[in-house]
Structure formats: structure tokens, C-alpha cells
């Protein structure tokens, strides 16, 4: 006998809503149905109503955690359409900020992974150390979360020598902490037991199901936009892609931990090789008729913007494809064959960011990190069948 278990819209792992309907046979999941779109805000439509300058701030607010990736992708897109050359220094500053945001996002999600597997101490430690990164981001941009640093034609604030020193000091503190976390996730037996060989995605499945970011790299596919389609200053900075072949939840977490180290390396290299010069060039308000795509490696994976402009100061069509939108399908497939208690840990290993994905939010009465077995929903579903 199979039973339908609706989980969500308040989904089990993060305090953001999504609805999964699991068909289970005893304890084992046999089918998953996903209802996405509880966060749909109609951003794509709103983008066509606002000017290119205003859209910088709208794209920033598609997702608060990956806001730097979103603005980088957006301004890069408009600069491509305008055929505008950005100063070297601005490109390096964008890279530094992107990597700081990556550290902050990865610390956040690794902490939540710890919480989901019942390791709350690591969650509190991660969030304590995250404050160091937040402090650095605030130092160079003026806000802890929403950076508003990127603009069409460059960046709005420069990095001074003192700020450089402060960032370097912070990075060296963080690097020590990263080593500790790596030790926890590679050696601790509890962590291994909850994450190892759970939610396996094979290499060819990862490609054909459309996974991106740490999910695809955790399955052994060499795909990182920073290396495959270098943007900004990434082609001038040497670094290695972090790849794990296993394809399980632990591999995805270890990819993130490995990326913490590469991000720290990239920041230090970029600070040492920061070129001198302008940080910004003037940009026109109107964009000529063009059709361009732009790719950025957000903390969660490949971010895709597609602009069709028509010569006015507003976009004609702007398509936003966020990493979670690509990752939800492979993860839903990976849950088939697993048991119910593993759901939150597998879901979190994908780093879900539903605000990114649907551009509209939704809530239900049931809130928090409990997961939901609502009789009413089950009954309603039975009636419908």
C-alpha cells in the first residue's frame, strides 16, 4: 500500500516554503511530486516595467543571499548588450565581493546542513563565524546583506588599503576555522552516517536532469562557470575546480567546504594583484537592440540571464533562470528510494533557495523546522484520487 505524504508548503529544511508530495511505500519513497511557485513575485514582468538603472536593485532583491551574483550577472548582461568595457579594477573588486558572498552563503548552508542532521552546535559555530564575513561585506559595500556595489559600467565603491588589510586579516582567521569544519565533516562518524551514500546522483543523470553548481560538481562533472565561461577577472586568477566523484550528500557538502578554501585563495590573490585605475565608466541609459545571454557562478550554481532589448531604456524581455530551479528536479529524483527521515538532509545538501527560484513567496500556518503530516491534506488528496 502506498501513502501520500504532503510536505510543505512550509518545507522541511529551510524556513522557506515549497511543497513536496511524497508517495511512500512503508518508509521508502517511491515517487515525488513537486509544487513550486510559492515565491512567485512576477519579477520577469516587473523587470520590463522598470528602467535598466532601477533593475539593478530589483535583480539584487530576487534573492538576498546570492544578491551579488544576481547583480554581477545583470550588469554583465547589460554591459554586453551595450558593448561597454569595464575597468580592470572594477572587475577585480567584483570578483572579491562575489567570493566573499560565496563564503557567506556556503557557511550559512553548511551550518543548516549541520542543524538538519541534528548537529546544532556546528550551526551556531558557523553562524558565529559568518559574522566575520558579514562584517567584511559591510565594510566594503555599506550593508550586511544587500551589497548594491555593482552598477552598469563598474562598481560604486573602491577598496582602500586599510580595507584590504582588514579583509586579509579576516580571511586568515576564517581559514583556520574552515580547517576545523573540514575535519568535522570528513572525520565525524555521525555526520558520515547521515550524509554518506544518501541521495546519490550519477554523472550522466546529473547532466541530463540539469543539475548545476555544487550538485553537478559533487557528481564528478567538470562544470564551473568561473572556469568554463570566465567572466569578470576570473580568467586572470589561477584556481582549481573542486570535484568529488561520489555524487552523494556528503560529496556536495565537501564541494562547498573545498570551495571555501578556493574562495579564500581567490580573494587573497585578487587583493594582491588589484590593478590601479578607475572603478567606473559612464554608461548610456538606452540599450540598443540586442539579444545576449550572461552566465555567472552563483554560490548555488549557474545563474542565467537572457536579455532581449529593443532600443528603449527598459528591457523588452528578461529571462532569469536561477540555480535552484535547475537543481530541484535532480534532487527530487535523488530522493526516490530513500527513507522519510533522510528527506531534510538530502534537500538541504542541494542548498535550496526558493526565493531565488520562484520569485514569489507563500506561507502556511505551520511554520518552522518541523515537517508536516497534515491529516487534512492527506484526506484531501485521497478524495481527489
Amino acid at each position: 500500500m502506498s501513502l501520500l505524504i504532503p510536505i510543505g508548503p512550509q518545507h522541511p529544511a529551510l524556513p522557506e516554503p515549497e511543497r513536496f508530495i511524497f508517495k511512500v511505500d512503508g518508509e521508502v519513497i517511491v515517487d515525488v511530486d513537486v509544487k513550486i511557485g510559492f515565491c512567485h513575485r512576477g519579477v520577469e514582468k516587473l523587470m520590463t516595467k522598470k528602467t535598466y538603472v532601477q533593475n539593478i536593485y530589483l535583480s539584487e532583491r530576487i534573492c538576498g543571499i546570492c544578491n551579488v551574483a544576481h547583480t554581477t550577472c545583470y550588469v554583465q548582461l547589460v554591459e554586453k548588450a551595450l558593448d561597454l568595457e569595464v575597468p580592470e579594477r572594477a572587475q577585480f573588486i567584483r570578483v572579491i565581493l562575489n567570493e566573499l558572498a560565496r563564503i557567506h552563503s556556503h557557511l550559512l548552508i553548511i551550518g543548516i546542513t549541520g542543524e538538519e542532521i541534528g548537529f546544532e552546535t556546528i550551526f551556531m559555530y558557523m553562524w558565529r563565524d559568518r559574522e566575520i564575513v558579514m562584517r567584511m561585506i559591510e565594510d566594503i559595500t555599506g550593508n550586511r546583506v544587500i551589497s548594491a556595489l555593482n552598477t552598469i559600467g563598474g562598481v560604486r565603491r573602491d577598496i582602500s588599503e586599510e580595507q584590504k588589510e582588514r579583509i586579509k586579516k579576516g580571511i586568515s582567521i576564517l581559514r583556520e576555522r574552515f580547517k576545523k569544519y573540514q575535519e568535522v565533516f570528513t572525520e565525524d562518524s555521525t555526520v558520515r552516517r547521515r550524509l554518506c551514500e544518501r541521495g546519490i546522483i550519477s554523472k550522466s543523470d546529473a547532466i541530463s536532469y540539469g543539475a548545476v553548481g555544487p550538485v553537478i560538481r559533487g557528481s564528478g562533472v567538470k562544470y564551473d562557470v568561473r572556469i568554463c565561461y570566465p567572466y569578470q577577472a576570473y580568467d586572470r586568477i589561477p584556481f582549481d575546480m573542486v570535484i568529488y566523484e561520489e555524487g552523494d550528500s556528503l560529496a556536495r557538502v565537501l564541494v562547498r567546504i573545498g570551495e571555501l578554501f578556493t574562495s579564500a585563495d581567490i580573494i587573497e590573490y585578487a587583493l594582491d594583484h588589484l590593478p590601479k585605475g578607475d572603478i567606473r565608466v559612464p554608461a548610456p541609459r538606452k540599450v540598443p537592440e540586442n539579444d545576449v545571454i550572461s552566465l555567472v557562478e552563483a554560490p548555488r550554481g549557474e545563474l542565467f540571464y537572457h536579455l532581449i532589448s529593443n532600443g528603449t531604456d527598459r528591457p523588452y524581455r528578461l529571462k532569469v533562470k536561477t540555480p535552484t530551479f535547475s537543481n530541484i528536479y535532480p534532487i527530487a529524483r535523488a530522493m526516490i528510494g530513500e527513507t522519510i527521515p533522510e528527506i531534510p538532509a538530502i534537500l538541504v545538501s542541494m542548498d535550496p533557495c526558493f526565493s531565488c527560484m520562484d520569485r514569489l513567496k507563500f506561507i502556511d500556518i505551520r511554520k518552522g523546522k518541523v515537517w508536516i503530516w497534515s491529516d487534512r491534506d492527506i484526506r484531501r488528496h485521497y478524495k481527489r484520487r
Partner: protein, 139 residues
């Protein structure tokens, strides 16, 4: 397999345009899309759907299938144009296209033929009217 050989294959199916390094556009007939994708998987290797952009322009519907070809690490966008809102689906060939096509169906009303589980209200709230497509241009 090299990029030139890929371009040769693509050239047989439609007009190829290079936008940037490793980024190609192929302007082609909509009926041929599934055949081309099948052919590419056979001859080149695994393909990932990066995105599907649907849009409406001058009363016509245009769909971009953005495909990432893994062994060559190249982005190929298949551009198809149509008077009506029916398009071929590539979900039976690449399962990962499921959500991308479904999103275009939900927001723009593009009907992808051959999509195994195309459903309305994947993204829009359940309360919204049946024939409501927010991204369609009012003309």
C-alpha cells in the same frame, strides 16, 4: 569531436550564428528540434538544458532552447519561431527540461507537445484564473 565538427552538424539543421566564444545560436524550424537534440546526443554526448526562454514579439512566439553540451563545454541556443503557441517538447529526450518548459507553459501559455507531465499552476497560485498568462504582451 571538436567544435568545428559540431558546427558542421548544426549547419545542416539551420543557420548558425556565433555570439561569443563557446556560445552559438541556431535559427531553425520548430519541427526539427527534437530530431536535432537526438542527433546531438548520439553523436556528441550528454546534454543539459540550461534554460528555456519563451517570448512574444510582433504577434509571433519565439522559444530559445539553451543547451549545454557537456563533452565540448559549449552553449548552443536553438531559436525557433512560430505563429501559434505550439512547440515541440524536448523533455522526453532530456528529462531536466521538465521545469523549464513547464514554466514557459505556465507564464506564457506555450504548449509543448509531447511533454509527459505538462501542468498548469506549477508556479502561479492555484487561485488564479485558468487562461491567465502574465508574461503575454497586451496588444
Amino acid at each position: 569531436m571538436s567544435e568545428e565538427e559540431l558546427l558542421k552538424i548544426l549547419g545542416e539543421w539551420g543557420k548558425v550564428e556565433q555570439k561569443e566564444p563557446k556560445d552559438y545560436r541556431v535559427y531553425m524550424d520548430k519541427e526539427k528540434v527534437p530530431d536535432l537534440v537526438k542527433c546531438l546526443i548520439e553523436k556528441v554526448g550528454d546534454i543539459r538544458t540550461a534554460a528555456v526562454t519563451g517570448m512574444q514579439r510582433n504577434g509571433k512566439f519565439i522559444v530559445y532552447y539553451h543547451l549545454w553540451i557537456h563533452p565540448l563545454d559549449v552553449m548552443v541556443s536553438l531559436v525557433v519561431e512560430s505563429e501559434n503557441d505550439h512547440f515541440p517538447s524536448i523533455t522526453p529526450i532530456i528529462p531536466g527540461s521538465h521545469f523549464h518548459e513547464n514554466e514557459a507553459f505556465d507564464l506564457l501559455g506555450l504548449k509543448f507537445e509531447g511533454h509527459p507531465y505538462l501542468k498548469k499552476k506549477l508556479i502561479l497560485p492555484e487561485e488564479s484564473p485558468e487562461d491567465y498568462y502574465p508574461l503575454r504582451k497586451e496588444e
